[in-house]
Each structure stands twice: as structure tokens, then as C-alpha cells.
Symmetry: C2
Subunit: 188 residues, 2 copies
Amino acid sequence: MARPKEFEKDAALDAATRVFRERGFAGSSAADLTRAMGIGRQSLYDTFGDKAQLYRAALARYTAQETEAHLAALSTGPRAVDGLEILLARVRAKAGEPCLAVGAVCEFGRTRPELTTIQVAAERALAAALAARLGEAQDEGDVAPGLDVGEAAAFLIAAIPGIRIAGRRGAGAAQLQALAELALRALR
Amino acid sequence: MARPKEFEKDAALDAATRVFRERGFAGSSAADLTRAMGIGRQSLYDTFGDKAQLYRAALARYTAQETEAHLAALSTGPRAVDGLEILLARVRAKAGEPCLAVGAVCEFGRTRPELTTIQVAAERALAAALAARLGEAQDEGDVAPGLDVGEAAAFLIAAIPGIRIAGRRGAGAAQLQALAELALRALR
DNA sequence: GAAATTTTGGAACGATCAGTCAATATCCCG
DNA sequence: CGGGATATTGACTGATCGTTCCAAAATTTC
């Protein structure tokens, strides 16, 4: 019977993700990646296929984790609007860190269908959940009744890279707080 | 007396800018750049120094042009709020195209002081102009009187990458229009 | 103990990288 | 018109790239 792999695939993938977030795809060498992942070149190619497939796997995992955390935040709090605020709070908290999803769009746009598929699916899931929650917030009087919840959801989704880019540019916690507050103010 | 250059520096720089916008710094090779610029590699190194300095020059020129266009848009229209709308309209119009400024932040963050300097200066200029215009809009009753115009300016600045990323992700004209409208709605 | 697989890490492959070099070409002033 | 100064051309340099190959050693499990 075969010798099992000595490394944890997900842990290695998370390490690769950190490298890709910092340096992008083109800026990360296979040597950078294997060093960060703590595995041999052979293991990288054997487990993931090649550098592009590793990136795809990293983006899929990162996007799934972010969406899950967004949805968890969204479901928090007694009122629906609390969830919206908590979602934006976690975006603010991470705003200084590079975002793999934003980086992927900047680096590739929609030129890589295998990456676009991941991004589109994640955005749809988040948009649907946001629209539902925004509807509840309307019922609770926290969001303007006439507002199109689909448009409002897309607006909050667009606010995420806006806040993250502001964070990377050096905006402080108070400034990011103000951005989040104004984003929600748009919905009142 | 020396032989004059056979190429237009600014035209060559604009061609380099297009390459850097599409592929980023790491993803653009010197061969890509010289081919697009229509010059020899010796001319590239002679005129710009090296690839990093070329990128710096491209970012400086791109940022100056964008800021100038933003300010021109901002000054348009009988009411101050018209300028805000026209500024966002031009952001929407270009949203599908890669933005060098956003790409630079994604790729480098604030790790390159020579790039950060350019970005900070441009943002300050735009923020000051936006704050002034927002003050006028308050006087004209188009923006909420109690709103902090500094925060509102930062919010509109953050809306720019938000809209551009949405555009790169495939958002259509109507969706981008809705994003812009909601951004302005935040200020009312 | 053997079969099966993983790991290690050097070597290699073909390509590409950023930047340099030298020969040639060209401009313009005296 | 010639020479000084610069521009252009395209080959070249040393390094690195992503990926594959290889063989020895290690490890797991039956």
C-alpha cells in the first residue's frame, strides 16, 4: 500500500494563497510557492498539476472561505441591518491586506474562464443572500422600501473592493469606518 | 550636435501604459513593451532607465491624465452635483477597461515609495477638489448639509475602484449606472 | 520483507527574462 | 564635407522561468 502524502493539502494551499495574494500570479515563482508551502517541486506538480491550476485551486478555496465568512456575518445580529454592518466590518478589518479575488480581476479580468467561473458563482451566491437580507431590512424599516434590493446588493458588493483598495492605499480605521457608514447610508 | 530621437516620448509612454494596464508590471516583458512602443530596447533603456522606471513614468502620466479628466468632469454642469454625476459617468464609461492605478495598488500596495508618492499626491488633489465641490453641492441643497465633505470625498474616491472592478467583472451599463446612483444617494 | 508510493534534490530542458554591448546609421554644426 | 555626438539595430549575457526527469532514499502498509 502506498505511502500517504506527508503534507496537508489545504495547509499547503493556504500558504500558496498567501504568496499569490502578495505577489499575484505572474509575480510568484514556483520556487516562491514551494518554499512557502514547505513541499518539494515534485509534490507541487504531482498534487496540483501546474502553477496555473494551483492558482485556480487557491482562488477557489479563498473565494469559498470569503463567501462563507460574508454569509456568516450577514446572518449575525437581531436585525437584518446588523448583518450588513457586520459584513462591512469584516471587510474593513481586512482592508489593509491584499485580496486574492480583487487581484485576480486586476490581473486577469475575464480572460481566464476557469477563474471567471469561480468569481461569478461566488458573486451570485453573495448577491442572492444580500438581496434577501436587504429585503428583511426593508421590512424592518432599516432600508428604504422602494429600493431595488438587487441593485443594492450589487452596490454593497462593489463597495467591498472599494474599501479594500482604500485600505491598501493606507486609509486608517476611522476612514474605513466612514466609508462603510456611507455605503449603508446609500440604502436608507 | 546630436541626432534627435526618432520617437515621441509621450506616445511611446502611452503605448507602454496600455501594456502595463493589461498585464501589470510582472506580466509585461521588455519585449512586449518595446514592441508596443515601436522602439528598440536600447532606446527604452536609454530614455527611461529600466523597466521599473518606465512603469513609474507610465503611472505618473496616467494618474495625472486621470486626475485632470476627473477635475474637468467635476467642474462641469450648472450645479455642483452635476459635476459629481459627470465624474462618475466617466468612471462608468471606462469601467470595463483595466485601470493602471488600481492595478498598481493591487500589485504593489505601498511597497514602492516612488509609486505611493504618485498615488498619494493624486488622491489628495482629487479629494480636495471633491470636498470643495461637495461643499458647493451642500449649499445648493443637493448634498446633505451635515455630511463631512472630507469623508464624502473619500467615499466617492473609494467608489471609483469599486465601479471599475465591477466593470471588469462584467457588470453592464445599467448595473454600473445603478452603482453610481447609489453612490450619490449616500450623500443625500 | 516486499510492494508501492512519496520525498529529496540535483540536473536538465527549452524558453524567457532584464539589461548590456558593439557595429552601424544618422543628424547637425563648424 | 567631415567629425562629434547620439540613435538604432540586433546579437548577446547571465540569470531565472515553469516544468520534467531521474535515481536514491525514505516511508507506509500488507
